[in-house]
């Protein structure tokens, strides 16, 4: 039985997948978020890019580093709440100078209904930066492809550790009607 998809379609989500595809990403490692759902869905339909769901985000950090050890590019997708789960695991990236690319959908920063998302959402950028990971941010649909592509190349061409934050305003308001 198929569960009906309940997320909005956006062109920039397809563009993100295309950047990963052109960039020979072979593992899409993720804890899901509505903002990532289109990319995740495409990975499940792809013959080369393997979707690798993890139960907690720090495991994803280890998986993408393992992929690089094995000579292949992997990217990590998560929601801002997951960034805090990763902090000690980021020492793997710093110590070994792994190239690292992480795409984060933001919560707790724009029309947030659930204030439980706000503490980590407010600290997401600092959590990355205090562990030596550079942060880029996309706030408009038009800027997404350029920012994602710039971060991706900095990681896999330049060997850098980069996180791209996708503004909550890109994703749209979550419906909270209690019906």
């Amino acid at each position: 039985m198929d569960v009906k998809e309940q997320t909005l379609q956006h062109a920039w989500k397809d563009e993100i997948f295309d950047i990963f595809k052109r960039g020979s990403v072979e593992q899409l490692v993720y804890v899901p978020d509505a903002g990532h759902s289109q990319v995740i869905k495409k990975a499940w339909a792809d013959d080369v890019m393997k979707p690798v769901p993890v139960t907690t985000e720090e495991d994803g950090v280890a998986v993408v580093c393992g992929s690089w050890l094995g000579g292949k590019r992997a990217v990590l997708l998560m929601q801002s709440s997951g960034v805090g789960n990763c902090v000690n695991m980021f020492s793997l990236i710093k110590n070994c100078q792994f190239p690292f690319f992480c795409l984060v959908t933001m919560r707790g920063e724009w029309a947030e209904f659930n204030q439980w998302q706000t503490p980590m959402g407010s600290a997401t950028q600092q959590a990355f930066e205090m562990m030596g990971i550079n942060v880029l941010r996309a706030d408009s649909p038009q800027s997404v492809p350029d920012v994602v592509s710039a971060g991706f190349d900095a990681a896999f061409v330049g060997g850098d550790a980069v996180a791209v934050l996708l503004s909550q305003s890109l994703i749209g308001r979550k419906k909270w009607d209690a019906k």
């Binding site: 280890a62 393992g66 292949k72």
Partner: protein, 199 residues
């Protein structure tokens, strides 16, 4: 049962690991921080080894990333019970992928040896083989006899299943054998051995 005198198993970890590594000469090995890194290094340094010195909980998940990236190679994770417990969720990630070339070997002394032999969950009722089995692993093995090492090596080298072996080892500390701590060096050496250039 006192905190420190409880013995979980009888297998000599150093001898067992040496035997296992010798029987799996082709395997790419990831080691969990602490004693498993020392055991594998003591068995003989090799470029196919990636030693963790931190990032507790990472070993099995790193093994998964390598196993997917290198499906023709056998990947062997050698870690401790404490390290495996911290990354317990990675067994679910592995079970969902079922790579045919991944074996997790847990050196289980039921204690956190590195921090002074405090009891761990595996000597308080938690069975890692049961967890792996419930996560969909093709096989699990609870090992109490050193001779079972050949059975594990056979599975590692066959590259036709994902499995977890829990080795009940003696809770004693051996002299530390310290592998390089320079993660960047170990990473580049590991990749170079597979034919991948540094930046």
């Amino acid at each position: 049962m006192s905190q420190n005198n409880y013995q979980h198993g009888t297998i000599n970890r150093r001898e067992f690991v040496k035997e296992l590594v010798d029987l799996c000469p082709e395997a790419l090995i990831v080691t969990g921080l602490g004693s498993p890194s020392y055991d594998v290094f003591a068995a003989g340094d090799r470029p196919e080894n990636f030693y963790l010195w931190g990032a507790m909980g990472a070993a099995a998940a790193m093994g998964l990333g390598i196993a997917i990236a290198q499906p023709e190679k056998s990947v062997l994770v050698i870690t401790g019970d404490g390290e495996m417990l911290m990354g317990l969720g990675s067994l679910a990630a592995i079970g969902a992928q079922k790579p045919k070339n991944l074996t997790i070997v847990v050196l289980d002394n039921g204690h956190y040896a590195e921090t002074g032999m405090q009891r761990s969950h595996t000597s308080l009722g938690v069975e890692l083989t049961g967890v792996a089995s419930a996560c969909g692993f093709d096989w699990t093995l609870a090992v109490r006899e050193p001779a079972d090492v050949s059975q594990i090596a056979k599975q590692v080298n066959a590259k036709n299943s994902v499995g977890l072996a829990n080795i009940f080892i003696e809770a004693i500390e051996y002299p530390k054998a310290l592998p390089p701590r320079d993660g960047s060096y170990i990473k580049n050496r590991f990749r170079g051995n597979l034919g991948f250039e540094p930046f």
